[in-house]
């Protein structure tokens, strides 16, 4: 057996380039598998543990206000296992630097542990219900804490019911509903500086909002297997007298939806991405082994004649593939563990999960080892099958020159006859090795497709940003007032120096009723002549707002099965006074990428409330020179609840994109490696097979350059169509990927700019050139003297 081991080493050394190439592809596949799967496992596990430890709510009910006593009633509903009543409101914060922020003040009855959506203290200490100094103690989420450079003991000025209160920060905490902190779905990314979560004892919030003995949210956990519809209906009935503003299941909870979308995205790529690399590696192993067995037919015959049995010989050849996989898997595991830690760091940055996401997942490593060995064994044994049919006697006869088959192109004599001999040779060589051709093309197509996939997120985000910031809306600031104001109030703001344009908006939370089904929505009232904010069609073109009727959000349209022309009933959910009802006709559907609001005219919004000329906020465009001046002036105005700066939003998105650059460049590198190895292998195989033929060309008087151009002619007809094919394949892959990510908060279009296609095609050319160049160096070493080494 020692001899065979020695022979294996010899074979590996003789094909070192190919051996390492395959090993690298396996390594890439395995490291992707480990990186992504570990991230998926760990993220999923830490989500699950976090949800379990903190009793993550199954259902949310928002009311105007309800006495705490209804909690008992809700608890009595069959299927309900745990109920918590609390107060949650978004309120303004005045920062020391005169800037504004918004915090989502959330109350917690003490002790917290057994409540729905309890929180976990991360740092500092828990608030006390009755601090010794008589003030208010709060916890904030770590993102807000860090972004605003807070310290424990610091005071924050909040505004509740039009009164300013100083509150003391005593710690940081997170909860299962705060894993991804965004104000609402109209934000693309969190902005920790201007939006945070503030946690206070329940008694304090009741005082702050003047809601003694009351709550404005009821959150529940349901028994597994309970009749959810029945239970939800029963709870809604209990809450009906208290102004049911909204009710939604866990899957519509924003941070959960974001986390789940990430998980489903990881799940999707954890399969297909490694699969691409591993199956191409398996393919290369297969064709290399088949070729090896063919050329070593005589040696196999001799081995059989000496007395080795089939099993030993098959195992010997298969061990080549297995060695490739062992080397590849080893490197892949090392790099995979590194990648897993990079992923974990990234997710730790994105999501507020208290348990560490990181850590080596030995199970995944074990799977990856099995996976790669499986690839080696499969490729090895299937490729080795022909060994069985080699008979020692027959194998001694020398093999006739490899059979040539005519190329399909020869059916086009007009074209074929114009070709030079070297082109004819190239086409025939290609068509003789169908399997290799198929593999090479599949490899190039995959590599180019992966290049597209690596680059397209950038395009999609760029497109979305353009839509969001330039097409659908072009304002610089959006303001919300504490309560509706008369249109004339805007004059105060428009008088500020640098304000170029100000337009009133009326945002009206509503419940849309249609065929006894409902969907909560936000009516955005704007003046039909407004220019700073618009609804948009599917292709991004803005839709003018009608004087009467509603441009319904895509979300509601999909949930309720609405089409243009249908009439819906809207019920206002203002949280104060009586609900108003109105019937409105749908004039269009709003495919705006973010926020996904429904649009009505200002007049229509007022009419629903039997009011006139009221606004709840404004959007404005300003001269950038005056931006900070205007910001600080606005911050001083007491009637303003929140100020959203789009520049900040844009900066946040850009910095998020910047953090993705490593991912993108790694993927680009992997794609190029894949393409390089596939070309390299194809050229080396073809070269090795025809060394003598090519050397004989040198004796005739071909220069090495000319011989190398013959090799090129073989690569070009395989590479160019594959690169071109890779472009639509990349688009398809991107669509498949997006289709697999379920996140209905945003509408992510598959946008690939022409420039990305061009870049991917160029990338394809680069790896083709590189692979050909490296493999083609063999031509320089081609020894013509070998030809005279005769058997005399």
């Amino acid at each position: 057996m020692k001899v065979l081991t020695h022979r294996l080493w010899h074979t590996i050394k003789g094909s070192l380039g190919q051996f390492l190439g395959m090993a690298v592809i396996i390594a890439v596949g395995i490291s992707l598998y480990i990186g992504i799967t570990t991230a998926f496992f760990n993220l999923g596990q830490s989500q699950e543990a976090f949800y379990k430890d903190n009793n993550f709510a199954d259902y949310y009910f928002y009311v105007v206000r309800a006495p705490e006593s209804i909690i008992r009633q809700v608890e009595a509903v069959p299927g309900v296992t745990l109920v918590t009543g609390r107060i949650q409101k978004d309120i303004p914060v005045f920062k020391d630097n005169q800037e504004r922020a918004t915090v989502r003040l959330t109350s917690y009855p003490l002790p917290i542990e057994n409540e729905v959506n309890s929180i976990q203290l991360l740092d500092g200490r828990l608030f006390s219900e009755y601090p010794a100094d008589g003030g208010i103690e709060v916890l904030v989420d770590p993102g807000y804490f860090d972004a605003n450079k807070l310290a424990f003991g610091d005071t924050i000025n909040i505004v509740a019911e039009n009164k300013k209160y100083p509150v003391k920060v005593v710690g940081t905490a997170t909860g299962p509903e705060f894993t991804y902190i965004m104000k609402d779905a109209s934000n693309m990314v969190p902005d920790y500086e201007t939006f945070g979560i503030m946690m206070v004892p329940h008694n304090q919030s009741q005082e702050l909002f003047n809601l003694p003995g009351q709550v404005n949210q009821v959150i529940v956990q349901l028994a597994p297997g309970a009749d959810i519809d029945q239970a939800v209906k029963a709870i809604k009935d209990i809450l009906a007298p208290y102004g049911n503003l909204a009710s939604f299941p866990r899957k519509d909870q924003l941070s959960h939806a974001a986390l789940d979308a990430e998980l489903s995205g990881l799940d999707a790529i954890s399969g297909f991405l490694p699969l691409i690399f591993l199956s191409i590696a398996a393919g290369i192993q297969f064709v290399i082994l088949r070729r090896m067995i063919k050329t070593q037919r005589t040696q196999i015959g001799i081995m059989k004649a000496i007395g080795f049995d089939n099993r030993q010989i098959i195992f010997h050849f298969s061990s080549y593939a297995i060695m490739v996989c062992v080397v590849g898997a080893t490197a892949g595991i090392v790099f995979g563990i590194f990648m897993a830690s990079v992923f974990s760091d990234m997710y730790a940055m994105f999501f507020n999960l208290p348990q560490a996401i990181g850590g080596i997942n030995y199970e995944v490593i074990l799977y990856s080892l099995m996976l790669s060995l499986g690839v080696g064994v499969l490729a090895g044994f299937t490729a080795s099958r022909p060994i069985l049919s080699i008979s020692p006697a027959e194998s001694m006869r020398s093999l006739p020159p490899s059979k040539s088959s005519r190329s399909l192109l020869e059916n086009l004599p007009g074209f074929w006859n114009k070709l030079s001999s070297s082109w004819k040779m190239a086409f025939r060589t290609i068509s003789r090795n169908r399997l290799r051709l198929l593999l090479t093309m599949a490899g190039i197509v995959s590599a180019v497709a992966l290049l597209i996939v690596s680059m397209f997120t950038n395009d999609a985000v760029d497109y979305m940003m353009d839509q969001h910031f330039n097409q659908e809306s072009s304002y610089d600031y959006m303001l919300h007032f504490n309560q509706p104001v008369k249109e004339s109030e805007l004059l105060n703001i428009s008088r500020l120096e640098g304000v170029e344009l100000i337009e009133g908006i009326f945002s009206l939370p509503v419940r849309v009723h249609y065929n006894s089904r409902t969907s909560e929505d936000l009516l955005m009232g704007i003046n039909p002549s407004n220019t700073l904010k618009h609804p948009a069609k599917e292709n991004g073109v803005v839709i003018p707002v009608p004087d009467e009727g509603v441009i319904i959000s895509r979300k509601s349209a999909e949930r309720l099965g609405l089409k243009v022309g249908d009439a819906v009933q809207v019920e206002t959910l203002l949280g104060m006074g009586q609900a108003h009802y109105a019937d409105i006709k749908i004039t269009a559907i709003n495919y705006q990428l973010f926020g996904n609001e429904s649009y009505v005219s200002l007049q229509q919004a007022n009419k629903i409330l039997n009011e006139s000329n009221l606004l709840t906020g404004a959007v404005m465009k300003v001269d950038s020179v005056y931006a900070s001046y205007i910001e600080s002036e606005l911050s001083d105005m007491t009637g303003i609840n929140s100020i959203v700066s789009r520049q900040k939003e844009r900066d946040n998105i850009m910095s998020l994109m910047d953090s993705m650059i490593y991912m993108v460049s790694t993927m680009i590198m992997f794609s190029v490696i894949l393409g390089f190895v596939i070309i390299y292998n194809s050229v080396v195989m073809s070269f090795n097979e025809r060394k003598r033929e090519l050397a004989s060309l040198l004796t005739i008087g071909f220069t090495r350059k000319e011989v190398s151009s013959i090799m090129w002619k073989e690569t070009i007809p395989q590479a160019i169509p594959s690169i071109l094919l890779g472009l639509p394949a990349g688009r398809l892959l991107a669509e498949l990927y997006f289709g697999s990510v379920e996140f209905d908060m945003w509408y992510m279009p598959v946008i690939i700019y022409p420039s990305s296609y061009v870049l991917a095609a160029l990338g394809g050319l680069v790896f083709v050139l590189l692979g050909q160049w490296v493999a083609g160096r063999g031509i320089q070493k081609l020894d013509i003297i070998e030809l005279s080494k005769n058997m005399d």
Partner: protein, 236 residues
């Protein structure tokens, strides 16, 4: 026989350095090659025949010495100059035919023809080797002897000054081998080509105008053959 010297080798040596050991494949060798002659180089295996032929054909550079081809000093030629020399002046035939398996017989010949300015037509040379009817066959569809004839046609289509054959019959059976030698002889007689055949088969020496005998890297003897025997009459 014409006595014009086509190529002159003066004190040519070739040694291969392999680590510590230096193999003197060719010791100081001086040889004139006459235009239009059929020269046979004989010698046992390893005696340096191929080395000598490769140096004559510009496939290899000598370690020392001088090679003059038609007043050109080839010993100082660059790789590229040697390539051009092979392209324009030399036709090679080997023991193994080394045809391009993905080109038909005709295309193999045309490929070589495409290299030079005034080639013969492939039809013409294939007729000369008696395979005009196999022009569209691939090497895999031809017997060894037929492949060797295609390889001769491929060498001749460039209309080379020198046709160099290294063991051209080595892989062929007796009868086929003789046919090949007949073809080479015909090429000399009808076309006036200079032909060098390297072989370990002493019987082949009988067809030569001159025989060079080699032993362990040097020329042991050069003998003139007053009446060469036609190839179909020799025996081994």
């Amino acid at each position: 026989m014409d006595t014009e010297v086509l190529m002159k080798l003066n004190n040519v040596t070739k040694s291969y350095v392999m680590g510590e050991v230096t193999v003197e494949a060719l010791k100081e060798t001086t040889l004139d090659i006459y235009s239009g002659e059929l020269l046979v180089i004989l010698g046992p295996s390893g005696s340096g025949k191929s080395t000598l032929l490769n140096i004559i054909g510009g496939m290899d550079k000598p370690s020392s010495g001088e090679i003059i081809f038609k007043d050109r000093n080839l010993s100082k030629a660059s790789d590229h100059e040697l390539t051009l020399f092979r392209r324009n002046e030399i036709g090679f035939v080997f023991q193994f035919y080394n045809l391009i398996s993905d080109l038909t017989a005709g295309e193999n010949v045309e490929l070589a023809a495409s290299l030079v300015k005034n080639p013969l037509t492939s039809q013409e040379v294939l007729t000369q080797v008696g395979l005009a009817d196999r022009i569209d066959h691939f090497p895999s569809q031809l017997s060894g002897g037929e492949q060797q004839r295609i390889s001769i046609a491929r060498a001749m289509v460039k209309n080379p000054t020198l046709l160099l054959c290294d063991e051209p019959t080595g892989a062929l059976d007796y009868q086929t081998g003789k046919t090949i030698l007949g073809l080479l002889k015909k090429a000399q007689e009808l076309m006036g080509r200079t032909i060098i055949i390297v072989t370990h088969n002493t019987a082949i020496g009988e067809i030569a105008d001159r025989v060079v005998r080699m032993r362990s890297g040097s020329i042991a003897e050069i003998s003139l053959n007053e009446s060469p025997v036609p190839p179909e009459r020799i025996e081994w």
